[in-house]
């Protein structure tokens, strides 16, 4: 991989965004263990390159991102503050969703981050509808719709791709194949091993790419987003990735081997980019440590912010339901 073609600032941003998600998620895991965070909590550790690489290709003034419930990484990659996200995980009124959504429902209307959607596959038609609005108003935005390998077998995937194709909607469907739908290896429940062929039934270009390399993700998505701005056509990616943690905090992940996990950790997305930058002389170990410390500090500060924030008042129970 020749990294000379990239701006140094972009490379450092990609590295820092991934590292920040990693550190933030580690703190989430700790706070969950301390029972500061409740409910279902799905960590993004291992998959950072997907959200960071793809969302870096967007202009969130006119583009949009929607994802499923493993959404902390996407929220941070969209530029949502650690404070607003952590406070939401704490259920505090200062959270991005005023404590109404929690871990699975992170939203930022201004940053065009439309969730944080909790029902597997149900946001695919919604993302398609956001793209419909772009087309209806003759804008040049693009929608990224992230979902997992479990969601691809829902009818919504097929209904959405068909609609996006017949109406030429600028939506890029991204299946983050982290290999397991909860505890089920994707091969056990899929008629095909290569998901990227599934869009061909709808005459939509599909491509399988390596999601452990953020530059691959960025290049492919940048190219796809730029094209979609002008041709308004839908696209589909299967991005192969891996989650280091269980499906959610309650999952010890006994359905996979230690060897498999350690094999993937050797191709850690943060490690790969860091080593490339070190090799190219664009980053020193000291600079990396400084970056890491900053990510840890901001994550810890978000905990302090959440701790100090108020609970939502009981009167807010009947708010945020109707306009």
């Amino acid at each position: 991989m020749d990294i000379a073609k990239y701006d140094k600032s972009l490379l450092l941003k990609l590295l820092k965004d991934m590292l920040f998600i990693r550190r933030f998620e580690e703190v989430c895991g700790q706070m969950y263990g301390l029972k500061k965070i409740g409910g279902f909590c799905h960590l993004y550790i291992g998959q950072e390159a997907v959200a960071v690489g793809a969302i870096a290709a967007l202009d969130l003034q006119k583009d949009y991102a929607l994802t499923a419930y493993r959404d902390h990484g996407h929220a941070l990659a969209c530029g949502m503050s650690a404070d607003a996200v952590m406070a939401e995980l704490y259920g505090k009124v200062t959270g991005c969703s005023r404590g109404k959504g929690g871990s699975m429902h992170l939203f930022d209307a201004d940053k065009h981050m439309f969730g944080g959607n909790g029902i597997v596959g149900a946001h695919l038609p919604v993302a398609t509808g956001v793209a419909f609005k772009i087309r209806y108003r003759k804008e040049d935005g693009v929608v990224l719709c992230f979902f997992g390998d479990g969601a691809i077998h829902q009818g919504t995937f097929h209904e959405s791709l068909n609609m996006a194709k017949i109406w030429n909607l600028p939506v890029i469907y991204i299946c983050e194949n982290n290999q397991y739908g909860m505890g089920t290896a994707y091969q056990r429940v899929s008629s095909v091993d290569d998901f990227s062929i599934m869009s061909s039934a709808y005459d939509i270009e599909g491509k399988q790419i390596n999601g452990m390399d953020v530059l691959v993700v960025y290049d492919e998505l940048k190219n796809a987003v730029d094209k979609a701005r002008t041709d308004h056509l839908p696209r589909f990616f299967e991005i192969r990735t891996y989650r280091y943690k269980g499906h959610s905090m309650s999952d010890p992940a006994k359905y996979r081997t230690e060897e498999e996990l350690s094999e993937y950790k050797k191709q850690d997305p943060i490690l790969i980019l860091k080593n490339r930058l070190l090799d190219a002389g664009l980053l020193s170990e000291d600079e990396y440590k400084e970056m890491d410390n900053e990510c840890k500090t901001i994550s810890k500060q978000s905990v302090a912010f959440a701790e100090q924030s108020e609970e939502p008042p009981i009167e807010s129970l009947y708010e945020d339901i109707y306009v």
Partner: protein
């Protein structure tokens, strides 16, 4: 005042709102070239073009969800379900997305969308095509639902629904589309959440919504011969519910019959009957009666399907029961 059909009243409302606001569009199965399965959208494709009157594939979950996404992003979709029966394919989208997005985003997002189509039994359609499903939607906070029973109410409520910033379901009915009534030429809006006294009376209150209104009116007319003076409260809006108009009427008559073509278990009708029983307990002269559909899927055979639904006779009997005559 012009007399027009219920079908034309709805079309006029959609037409006027599409003319007024470019963000309003209509999507659904057969709404365009076919002019609507029940001809509600007749002529709209010719007038507004295929960018705004959109024939969808048979993919209820898909185009319902697409409408929700378009609404989140700033458009004002009207989603036509060919019937409410088929909306069950899209129930997840309505309940988990349309009704929840505002809440889960802490009030950041809104979903200004209308879901509309015929609801409730027609004739000879057996059980999958003859369901009154307003109760399962009415159960869900975050949704509004209206059930107009006259052309006048249909037009005024449809316009209100399109202008509302929340998801609103409009429950129409196949058998009502041909009903006629007076509709003024000048523009008007009927606010959602306001019931209407369709008939003033002194002896008993009958609370009803949607298609059974005509049966209640027939029953009231027949009971005139017995010297019974029936007051009819047409809910028009199921959620939000105009409880005050109902209570005021019952406070006057001291007797109440609720008519609803839903099944009786956990229904709009049973809820209204409970509200009246609880909030008017001190002044009621008889237990509240509920006339609903029988607790069975609707059969094809005509005698059986009629026997399963509310009827003029059942309503008269219920009224006589609360009057002890």
């Amino acid at each position: 005042m012009p007399v027009i059909s219920y079908r034309d009243a709805i079309r006029q409302a959609i037409d006027e709102e599409m003319d007024r606001d470019e963000n309003v569009f209509l999507i659904g199965e057969e709404v365009g070239e076919y002019n609507g399965a029940y001809k509600v959208s007749k002529g709209l494709l010719d007038k507004y073009g295929s960018q705004r009157v959109i024939d969808s594939p048979i993919t209820e979950e898909g185009f319902t969800g697409l409408g929700i996404g378009a609404a989140l992003a700033g458009l004002r979709p009207i989603v036509e379900w060919m019937t409410f029966n088929f909306s069950l394919q899209a129930y997840d989208q309505v309940v988990n997305n349309a009704a929840k997005m505002r809440h889960m985003s802490g009030g950041q997002l809104k979903v200004p969308i209308v879901f509309r189509g015929p609801n409730g039994p027609a004739e000879f359609l057996s059980s999958q095509h003859s369901q009154a499903l307003q109760s399962i939607y009415a159960h869900v906070p975050g949704l509004k639902i209206v059930a107009p029973a006259t052309p006048y109410d249909a037009k005024g409520l449809m316009k209100a629904a399109i202008r509302d910033d929340n998801p609103v379901l409009v429950a129409e009915a196949e058998l009502m589309y041909a009903w006629t009534g007076e509709v003024p030429e000048e523009e008007y809006i009927i606010p959602i959440g306001v019931a209407d006294i369709k008939r003033q009376g002194a002896d008993v209150t009958v609370v009803v919504h949607g298609k059974p209104l005509r049966m209640v009116e027939d029953a009231a007319k027949q009971l005139e011969n017995d010297g019974v003076d029936v007051e009819i409260v047409d809910m028009r809006s199921i959620r939000p519910l105009d409880e005050q108009t109902i209570y005021s009427s019952v406070n006057k008559t001291n007797r109440c019959v609720v008519v609803d073509e839903s099944w009786p278990f956990a229904s709009v009708g049973s809820h209204v009957a409970w509200l009246v029983s609880k909030n008017c307990f001190d002044i009621l002269d008889a237990p509240v009666e509920l006339v609903s559909s029988e607790d069975v899927p609707l059969p094809y055979n005509h005698h059986l399907e009629l026997a399963a639904q509310p009827s003029v006779e059942k309503i008269i009997n219920a009224i006589k029961k609360v009057l002890y005559i």
